[in-house]
């Protein structure tokens, strides 16, 4: 460094809390040669749970690699003690598996439980084709074996008994290329002939009943817990491993007040009907504010942490698999390992549900839509409203709404509200729709 250089120390590595101990930094090329110890402040996994009948002790915080491509993040995750990795053939078209393979290179393979998935709906699904595809997975992962192979998405009950998949699995297992069988399911799926309403618990339940599956990956969170808890109990009855996704569905609508103000400005002369609905929506804002003040919430991350702790408070949950691709996300999630759900957390989530759950139009629900005489696509409009307010994607949301091609929420003003009667969660559907309409159309 020249004499002109002047270094001013800042919050070096603050955002990751990770540093190299001792002297020099390894070169780019030498990055795989030596593990670099973590700074003492870096979070570590502090709890391992037995993954059902696999007998493997997995980290309570797993690594969801759905859009993952950064080897360095995975290397640090492994240093932190994360040892459950969830990937798939289709994740970033195989690049997720490649990045994981690079990160695992030179490490003790047996210390990690590696799950990958094959989608049996595309890419060739005869026994030989599935085996060939799986061997490609292993090549990308730079390993001789995967701990678990899952049927990806599993949209139909029939696919639980997919003969070629099971035949391929048995042969691969006999060859020592895989040890355990699993499946994943998100619930409702869109297939080529239209929307299907095969419930998540029906698909996972069929797998439990089938008896050949060792591990399941599905949706469970504090706002949609009943079905998830039933599935967890089913899995427990056969000692299946339970891994989770979509565990922290928190949104406090940070821009909601601004949005409401704009809505008021656009509707100076408002009808009594609209006024009543606006008051209902305002009560939502007040409740959100009350919630934030009561629990000192500065950011959604605080509430998300409680949501993760909630699912981990269930001892029959073995690992949660949030999507991770940055050091920040890694630190946040690993920092929650072994964190117990406190009374305050429990109270926070309970109150979130009581205060704001009523205003949460459940993802992919659509129960009310058949009752609407105007055929308003309620779930779709709610999503656009969420993009407008929750994601700051106003233009995108307005374009989507303009191109809807169906009845819009303007028709809700003069409607008696059959949807609200039909909603099992008590959501004030009309009010939310009218507010959404106000946001999503130009004044």
């Amino acid at each position: 460094m020249s004499s002109q250089d002047h270094v001013s120390r800042r919050r070096f590595l603050k955002s990751t809390g990770i540093a190299v101990a001792g002297g020099g930094v390894l070169s780019h090329k030498a990055k795989h040669l030596d593990a670099q110890p973590l700074q003492r402040t870096a979070p570590q996994v502090r709890e391992y749970r037995t993954l059902g009948r696999t007998g493997f002790k997995v980290s309570d915080i797993g690594f969801g690699a759905g859009f993952f491509n950064n080897t360095n993040v995975m290397q640090v995750a492994l240093d932190m003690g994360v040892n459950y990795i969830d990937t798939g053939e289709h994740y970033v078209n195989g690049q997720s598996e490649r990045a994981i393979g690079e990160a695992l290179n030179g490490r003790d393979r047996k210390s990690v439980f590696l799950t990958t998935k094959l989608n049996i709906s595309c890419g060739g699904s005869t026994k030989e084709q599935l085996k060939q595809r799986f061997h490609k997975c292993l090549e990308r992962l730079q390993t001789d074996y995967a701990d678990c192979l899952m049927i990806h998405m599993t949209p139909q009950i029939e696919q639980v008994k997919h003969e070629a998949f099971h035949a391929a699995f048995e042969e691969l297992k006999a060859e020592g290329r895989v040890q355990f069988l699993g499946l994943s399911n998100h619930g409702r799926q869109q297939s080529w002939w239209g929307r299907t309403e095969v419930a998540m618990e029906d698909v996972i339940g069929a797998a439990v009943e089938d008896g050949r599956f060792d591990v399941a990956l599905f949706v469970y969170n504090f706002l949609q817990k009943e079905q998830g808890e039933r599935i967890i109990q089913m899995c427990k009855s056969k000692n299946m491993g339970v891994t989770l996704m979509k565990t922290d569905p928190i949104n406090l609508y940070a821009r909601i007040e601004e949005s409401l103000e704009q809505s008021r400005a656009r509707n100076r002369e408002i009808s009594e009907t609209r006024s009543r609905m606006a008051r209902d929506y305002e009560s939502y804002v007040a409740r959100a504010e009350e919630f934030k003040q009561r629990y000192g919430i500065q950011s959604e991350a605080q509430a998300r942490a409680a949501a993760i702790k909630f699912v981990l408070s269930n001892p029959d949950v073995h690992s949660v698999c949030p999507s991770i691709n940055t050091f920040d996300a890694l630190n946040t999630y690993v920092g929650l390992s072994c964190e117990k759900l406190t009374d305050e957390d429990d109270s926070m989530l309970d109150n979130y549900d009581k205060l704001l759950g009523r205003y949460y139009c459940r993802h992919a629900c659509g129960t009310c839509e058949s009752s609407c005489t105007n055929h308003v696509p309620v779930n779709t409009i709610m999503r656009y409203s969420h993009y407008f307010e929750g994601h700051n994607r106003e233009k995108h949301a307005m374009q989507k709404y303009a191109n809807l091609g169906t009845a819009r929420a303007s028709s809700c003003l003069d409607c008696p509200g059959h949807c609200e009667t039909a909603c099992p969660h008590g959501v004030p559907v009309r009010s939310l729709l009218v507010h959404a309409h106000d946001n999503l159309v130009l004044a």
């Binding site: 460094m1 020249s2 250089d5 002047h6 270094v7 001013s8 800042r10 070096f12 590595l13 955002s15 990751t16 540093a19 190299v20 930094v25 390894l26 070169s27 780019h28 990055k31 795989h32 670099q36 969801g64 759905g66 859009f67 491509n69 950064n70 360095n72 993040v73 290397q75 798939g88 289709h90 994740y91 078209n93 195989g94 690049q95 490649r98 989608n119 709906s121 595309c122 890419g123 060739g124 699904s125 595809r133 990806h152 998100h186 799926q189 869109q190 297939s191 080529w192 002939w193 239209g194 929307r195 999507s323 691709n325 940055t326 050091f327 920040d328 996300a329 999503r383 656009y384 989507k400």
Partner: protein, 277 residues
Amino acid sequence: MKRMLSFTAAAAIVALLSCSGGESDFPEVEGWTQESDVLIYDVDNLWEYINGAAELFVEYDVQTCRTTDLSSGDVVVTVDLYDMGSPLNAFGVYNRESSGSGEPLPGAVEALVSPPYQALLLKGATYVKVNAIEGELTESIGRELLESLASALPGETRYPSELDLLPEAGKVTGSAGYQSEGFLGLTELTDCLYAEYSGAGDEPWQGFVILPASGTSVWNALSADWESLEHNGLTVLYREIPYRGLVGVTQTDRGVMGVSGAADQAQLLQRLVGFVE
């Protein structure tokens, strides 16, 4: 196979269920027959089609995905046409999924055939993904299909103009990419164009440029958290990435430019100065 097995029986159901496709504006592909209805997904429901893989496409601001099955002889493929809204976004997601190993193709920007199951294509704002569901997609069949698709699709056949922001000197051919979020695993690095560079006596290293529209906001965010030093009249912000080494950026009249993978500050400054010259 799911699409083929019960296609006939389900044809009537298609009409009744009013799926999210219907009337097709799917391009006609010479030598291939359309075997199923066209389904159209957008950012709201893409996960229903490709599950967790949708997150990558959402990151790159996907607009729509049109998908259908095509057949030719004993080969049946699913063709996904992703409208990414801009050539840069299409390039970004194509590059991430192809690992930068594509080749030029007439009528397109680039393409990659990976027998026996897959072929990828980039043209304008469209990223095309072909997956075989029956038969084998050989190199020649895949290439012919991609050429037909390329000729039927609109859009530019050159790389996105934004890539011209990357300095040419020392750039390794075919190494350029674009990552919209979390470049190098760092939340604060967004909208990054990058490429590998090589110089005499030095191992390859990575250089990157922040898109001009995001330059100021990214610089301000880095200023708050990264180390800084002054060197030859440049303000350099830098930090360390575990297992990778140092990454540093500076502001120039061409925007915020940076390098990564340096072993120490001397190497970081040497590369950075050379990169911005």
